[in-house]
């Protein structure tokens, strides 16, 4: 193990609270605190900075899902958790690229995270499904669905944006779009 990269570290429970409150500032600090560690791991193990970015962002998503699922218990330091997830993700990627992985050069302790990874893989699968389903949906359905369900816009706004004569027409359109999405998502 080589020297670790040090920086001022926010307290773990501060971060968890911030995640629950969707605090952008906490995300910022979390990102800037732990990204160098992951960059170091990936760069020293046959990766580049883009790989590091992907792996790290995925690990943050794992963390967010874990925290927001409610029954979150941190059995280790947050740093160790993130490192373990990234290490695991990177190993998987190296294997997928069928590069010979001998020993990863490690920079921190790590813990087994099988359960979290399993959950994450399931969520990841569903994310990809949804992404594909929305893609197949096409315009204008995709935007209507996104505007209504993701951006929480009112039907009034949406009907104006798309030039529907009244909100009821927009609602009918939304209904059709949703039925199609349901069909694509659950059938794929």
């Amino acid at each position: 193990m080589r020297k670790e990269v040090k920086s001022s570290v926010p307290a773990d429970n501060e971060i968890i609270l911030g995640i629950l409150n969707d605090s952008k500032e906490i995300l910022n600090r979390l990102y800037k605190t732990y990204f160098p560690m992951v960059l170091q791991l990936v760069l020293n193990n046959n990766g580049n900075e883009d790989d590091a970015k992907d792996v790290f962002q995925e690990s943050v998503i794992v963390l967010y899902n874990k925290v927001k699922s409610g029954n979150f218990e941190l059995n280790s330091k947050l740093k160790t958790f993130i490192y373990s997830v990234c290490r695991r993700l990177w190993l998987k990627r190296l294997n997928a690229q069928s590069r010979t992985v001998r020993n990863l050069e490690d920079f921190s302790d790590f813990i087994p995270i099988e359960d979290d990874m399993e959950k994450h893989e399931e969520k990841d699968r569903q994310f990809t499904l949804m992404e594909n389903a929305l893609q197949q949906l096409g315009e204008p359905c995709k935007t209507i669905i996104e505007d209504y369900y993701l951006q929480n816009r009112s039907m009034q706004e949406i009907s104006e944006k798309f030039g529907y004569t009244n909100a009821d027409n927009a609602k009918t359109q939304k209904y059709k779009c949703l039925q199609r999405l349901k069909k694509i998502f659950f059938q794929s």
């Binding site: 995300l27 160098p36 760069l43 900075e49 994310f127 669905i145 993701l150 609602k171 999405l181």
Partner: protein, 362 residues
């Protein structure tokens, strides 16, 4: 709008919490009253849940990308992974391949050396000791002779495994030969030119000088007094010498000259002699013109012409002196008078004949 659209919009409003208390109560009632509607609500909620998760992730990723833009990657890269000099990078990259290549090379080299018997050869591979390995051809010949003559061959029927030459030290049955001729022997016999074999015991061996002194066990064995003496001083280079030995079953005469004061690889115990010798000559006496023993033939250099070696006679004398007197049954008296001086070579050889033995080792 049809009924399904209405219900969907109702569920959306419910999920968003946009229903008034009265509408909510009506919705709840409708849901509990109609299982089809309830199923629709559950399905809808499920889909919206997946949609939300998708949306959250997309939002989180875009937020992170924004943060990522702020990071100065190049600075950070230098910090977490200092550039190593080229040589280190090459080493890091190729060290495993290098190790494998080196291992293969080593296995190849040592494997070849091992399989060609390099390790099992003695260090002085081009030095051979002149003892003779008696082969099966001779065995069959002996058997043949026995059959033709119809009389028993004296001595052991089984021919020896190895053979060499020895010569008498004294009239009462002491014989000297090379240590390497009789080493590892079960039993040793000497056979004179008449074909008479006598069992001998080992009186003294000196592996360093390659000298062995044997004694014929038969108490009645007696020779006439020795015609030769041992030369105490060193022989001169160029001096002409001769030897008689048993490279085969008959005595063979060979003549040559002392070609160097020292033996193989500068060995001071021996002379180098230019003389034709063959396996079986080992232990034979090396005599000068006057009939003095100047050495004992013990080996020759492989791949070199006329480079034989003989132990210097003064080491033989030293060995005799080193024998504990208690271990001798009879006194060992060397010949004091030289009866060969002045004789022609043929007469010398005739006189020498009974004193030179074939040594057979079993």
């Amino acid at each position: 709008m049809n009924k399904d659209t209405e219900i969907t919009n109702l569920i959306d409003a419910y999920l968003r919490g946009e229903l008034s208390p009265a509408e909510l109560a009506a919705f709840q009632q409708k849901r509990s009253g109609d299982p089809a509607v309830d199923l629709q609500v559950v399905e809808h909620e499920n889909l919206v849940g997946h949609l939300n998760e998708y949306g959250n992730r997309v939002r989180l990723t875009s937020e992170m990308n924004a943060i990522h833009e702020e990071i100065e990657i190049e600075v950070l890269k230098r910090e977490v992974k200092p550039e190593l000099p080229v040589i280190y990078r090459m080493w890091n990259k190729y060290r495993v391949s290098t190790a494998i290549a080196a291992t293969v090379a080593m296995i190849a080299v040592f494997g070849t050396l091992f399989s060609t018997g390099y390790f099992s050869q003695a260090i002085s591979t081009n030095y051979t000791q002149m003892r003779r390995e008696l082969n099966s051809i001779k065995r069959s010949q002996n058997a043949l002779i026995k059959n033709i003559n119809g009389k028993p061959v004296r001595g052991p029927v089984n021919p020896g495994q190895f053979g060499g030459t020895g010569f008498a030290l004294s009239a009462n049955g002491y014989v000297v030969t090379n240590y390497h001729v009789i080493k590892d022997a079960d039993s040793v016999y000497v056979q004179n030119s008449q074909g008479e074999a006598f069992k001998v015991r080992q009186v003294y061996t000196d592996p360093v000088y390659d000298i062995a002194i044997l004694q014929i066990i038969d108490p009645d064995f007696k020779l006439a007094s020795l015609p030769y003496t041992f030369k105490k001083s060193a022989a001169d280079v160029g001096q002409s010498v001769y030897t008689i030995g048993f490279p085969r079953d008959d005595q063979v005469y060979g003549e040559g000259y002392v070609s160097s004061r020292n033996g193989f690889a500068g060995d001071t115990v021996a002379y180098q002699v230019s003389i034709p010798v063959n396996p079986g000559n080992s232990g034979g006496p090396l005599l000068d013109n006057k009939g003095n023993v100047v050495g004992i033939i013990n080996g020759k250099q492989k791949f070199a012409d006329g480079a034989a070696f003989a132990i210097k006679s003064n080491y033989v004398l030293a060995s005799i002196d080193a024998i504990p007197q208690d271990s001798l049954e009879n006194k060992l008296v060397l010949g004091k008078r030289n009866l060969l001086t002045g004789l022609s070579r043929q007469d010398q050889i005739k006189k020498l004949e009974p004193y030179i033995f074939m040594v057979k080792v079993y």
